[in-house]
Assembly symmetry: D2
């Protein structure tokens, strides 16, 4: 598909990715991973629910785990975005229902007015403008630990129909900042979409889906990312590392990936950049350019591309276009 | 004055601080300071004009020097902001002229449509939505040097009438994120105002003005700030350091300040934080709290508060409220 | 005085600075400062004695506080060095007593054979080769906090007779790596002396003494030094900062200085360099070169040069040469 | 074999690894790799020879390339160590010849008195005490680039007879700091041996040899290692990365490995620790403990264990004990 024109006439203002709601089989184990390991702050914990947030965040939660007894790996309950005001939410409600998309207001703990609907590829979303506020730990430096995670930044979704996802989010005013396309064609393989000032709130990459590939917290210093890796190792959580530190060509993030006790993948990264101006053109990467995923030339393992968390009750569909970006031969070049 | 309600009904979208235009008596000396020293990229240099930008920036310039032969220290020609689109500029033109403020479109090299006017305290501004684009150096890592400056972030203005400035910018949709007030009163001493996602595009602090106190480039790593200080020293530019590295309580920036060959003050900093949500309340600091300016407790020297660059042709007025935040006695506590 | 030839024929091998023994009026307050604040590990704490060490250290202590009820600021009990083996200690005992210096073996908790004597300027020293060993925290990364202090590195002594101190330590095989001399003369103002592979185990600087100016822990990363400053501020210990972060010309250390609750000065620094080879010549700095103490050009406050901890029962003598390296005029250039 | 007692009665003082002499097929290409890429300083370059050194080094060279026209990958000419004085060299000459090892004095450019012999496993060595000196770049911060390499630290040798190598170097006073042994046995698989204050000057690991596995430069900051990786990528040298950044369990180094244009492997690392005291016991690692090579749990690729540079004219022998520490199955766990 060709690039879409950014939509400047949306009657509501989505501002950013807000929070992610996942399931956990054991909230204590999950807490140890995220609080003792990665350094997130626990803002709520009872028998059914664990709420966490990062150093800069003043809202109640950016990461929520709900207890599940279902067998198998953890799943995703919903993805939360912010709109700027409650008026935006009301206008959005009218907008979506007018389009025939079943939006509805729901009650959520510690959140203000919250609007629920499914996006164009079936992902359960919720939008709110306000959340219970409290002083963050930004200047309580002695409490910073693990990866010193500053703020929830984005999610990545493995998606069977990237083009449809791109269209749906473009309608909501999300802008494309970078993308992968099959060489010499318009066939989009991955799209980086954003509302806030940097490169992405949500990424869709080709593959069986929709499934949540990862969610990502930002931390400003490279040494904090390495320290997180060291801390996880010294807590006997080394096995949770999913992809070793590296530099993404796309988005320029310096990253490391872990898998939590329920198999959810979390990225810690630094070094995104700002995209604000209307004349800042989307950057194209050819699918065969391995620097896309790793600027230093080492391909990701296959599991990094194919394993992901399913959304509760959402069917996983095979991708419309062929999915594999990396071969065993590529990987074994480094063996 | 009491806090103002954010203005949500502005017919145009100012997105960020864009660029600063200053005078220089010797463009070669200025270039050495900013390019060889701090590591900015030169995008234009002729007999009359020097244009520079930072690593992430794709627009033509964020810092412009125009040659002057006037005696005395350098001065400020104008401050540039971005609006999102040319339509925003046109609506702004109507808006300002309807209010009786003499806005007008002007021609500027390497910029698109540009709207010129003076702000509420007399500062010459210009707004544009587009600028000549070119590939930046973000992933040309071997060219990163000095302080590895990533992006122009904000300016600070020494201002005789902080309350008026606050009102004028609030009308344009700028939000207050932090502020200093005289203890136990509503008398505002400093206001941190922003459009983009972080804490500030422009700061107004009480003092004789309007004068440009400093402009500031962001760099993500603390070690880059210290390296900039080391590089300036090894280039025999140690005398240009104006304030040694420290941590601002307000805004949380880790900073260092230099004075360029014409006396303009430039800050390099890391560690601003995000303010996006409507329920993220402005943070108040009491004027007597010295952690405001330096979290570690060391007061700034008086010159840091009082020396600043004048705007060309703009009268400097005495402040409406008493200006001095620091005494010689405070400073000599560390002697 | 002229430079001395290094003494290559000493019958024993002093390997490094080992530990510092200081007094404290309140061991709990001292513990909070060093353990909660700077991140040292407590290896012993009872009513009379507090022992601490850094991340890399496997010996029992590098810093010991003994409870005192004496009024006034804290004092120094003794300075500990290591020799390589107990045989070295025995040969040293013979050597010192043959020279008429009253060395004697003493018992010390958690140390092996320990030899006690006073150095050439009256400082009480003790030498040992072994100390109770235990696993350190080097790869227990989740316990690293504060300034992530890695290892005790050196002490600095304010001394009334730098030339005598230099001669006494040179006799023991200490090598001069850098020094300050009054411009155009042989009059030594400061000497950097070392046994281990880097630039210094002990520094003597001109002034009323002998008094302990500071002891210093090394940490490899600049960002850890800044984090220590931030942590101290967020623990309400900002008032303990004695000198803000900077870069010493001599020794090249990036530093910050604090004063503990008893007034003892502690430096945290990174970036010393190696001096091992016989042809690595001592580096001379002129006394008037302010880059000596601060490469960036900001002079230290007078108190940094003149306040120091006295040694128990050791008379403080006026310096043989005039002491002041910095004037109020210099300092106020930055006001 | 059991651990050997350190030899304290050697009539000469080897102080550290000094330099490495390798062959190159194209000195210009080699220079681009090490100077433009990694940031070493060129101290000599003519048609036959290229000399380089790191930021802290005052001697003429720590890395020398000699032009070769021989087909195949580059080879190693010799390994240089320092002794403390020329008298040490003379005593060493007597010592080696008395043992029947053919030591002889040779002439080397820019080095003082130089003693040549082969070590116990056939590696050509040379020892010198002095080298042409010149001001280094330590405080010329504006010249620091690439990985900001500070100092040559150690080499690692793939060796068919680790036990013999350990005995030979132990005789010369090298101390064992860490080692790998086959689980539950005394069969040594790798030995970390050192003279200077940290953990290693030379490492021997089991495998066909002797061959030079790598030489390693130290840099203090983690972010410099990542920057080196980024710089190599932005210079189109990404293909030279041999092993992505990680943390060695043994020695605690944070590392990255590259292969130069002739196939020589170079490590950049931070975070070694000090070993000085006689009671600092060697640390044992079981061969099956994968944290040995990578604390985070990711095994090295097989090529990292098996590819290495041969020494000119020195036969490569099969190891006395089985060599493979990692299986394809292990590696593919991360696929």
């Amino acid at each position: 598909m060709a690039l879409l024109s950014p939509n400047l006439d949306i009657p509501f203002n989505v501002t950013r990715l807000s929070h992610v709601v996942l399931t956990s089989h054991d909230l204590d184990t999950t807490r140890y991973f995220y609080e003792t390991g990665l350094g997130l702050e626990v803002t709520g914990h009872d028998a059914n629910r664990l709420c966490l947030r990062a150093i800069e965040e003043t809202g109640h939660h950016s990461l929520v785990f709900e207890k599940t007894d279902t067998e198998g790996p953890g799943s995703v309950r919903r993805i939360g975005y912010r709109m700027y005001s409650d008026d935006d939410l009301k206008r959005a409600n009218d907008y979506f229902n007018a389009r025939g998309e079943a939006a509805e207001f729901v009650e959520r703990p510690c959140q203000g007015l919250t609007l629920r609907l499914n996006d164009g590829v079936g992902i359960p979303l919720e939008f709110c403008a306000t959340m219970e506020q409290s002083d963050n730990r930004m200047q309580r430096f002695h409490t910073h630990s693990g990866g010193r995670l500053a703020v929830l930044d984005h999610i990545q979704v493995t998606c069977h129909d990237v083009a449809s996802a791109y269209r749906w989010y473009n309608d909501l005013g999300f802008r494309l900042t970078e993308y992968t396309a099959r060489d010499g064609t318009d066939e989009m393989w991955g799209v980086w979409l954003k509302r806030k000032n940097n490169t992405q709130d949500v990424v869709f990459g080709n593959g069986p889906g929709p499934r949540l590939h990862h969610f990502a917290y930002h931390t400003p210093e490279i040494s904090s990312i390495i320290h997180a890796a060291d801390v996880m190792a010294s807590l006997d959580l080394a096995g949770s590392m999913d992809r070793t530190p590296g530099r993404h060509g796309i988005g320029n993030a310096f990253f490391v990936y872990f898998r939590d006790p329920d198999g959810h993948r979390v990225e810690i990264f630094s070094s995104h950049y700002n995209v604000i101006d209307i004349d800042h053109a989307p950057k194209r990467w050819e699918l065969t350019d391995t620097r896309r995923s790793q600027l230093w030339g080492f391909p990701a393992p296959r599991k990094w591309f194919f394993e992901a968390s399913e959304f509760d009750g959402v069917e996983v569909k095979e991708p419309l276009v062929d999915a594999s970006p990396v071969t065993l031969e590529d990987f074994l070049e480094n063996w």
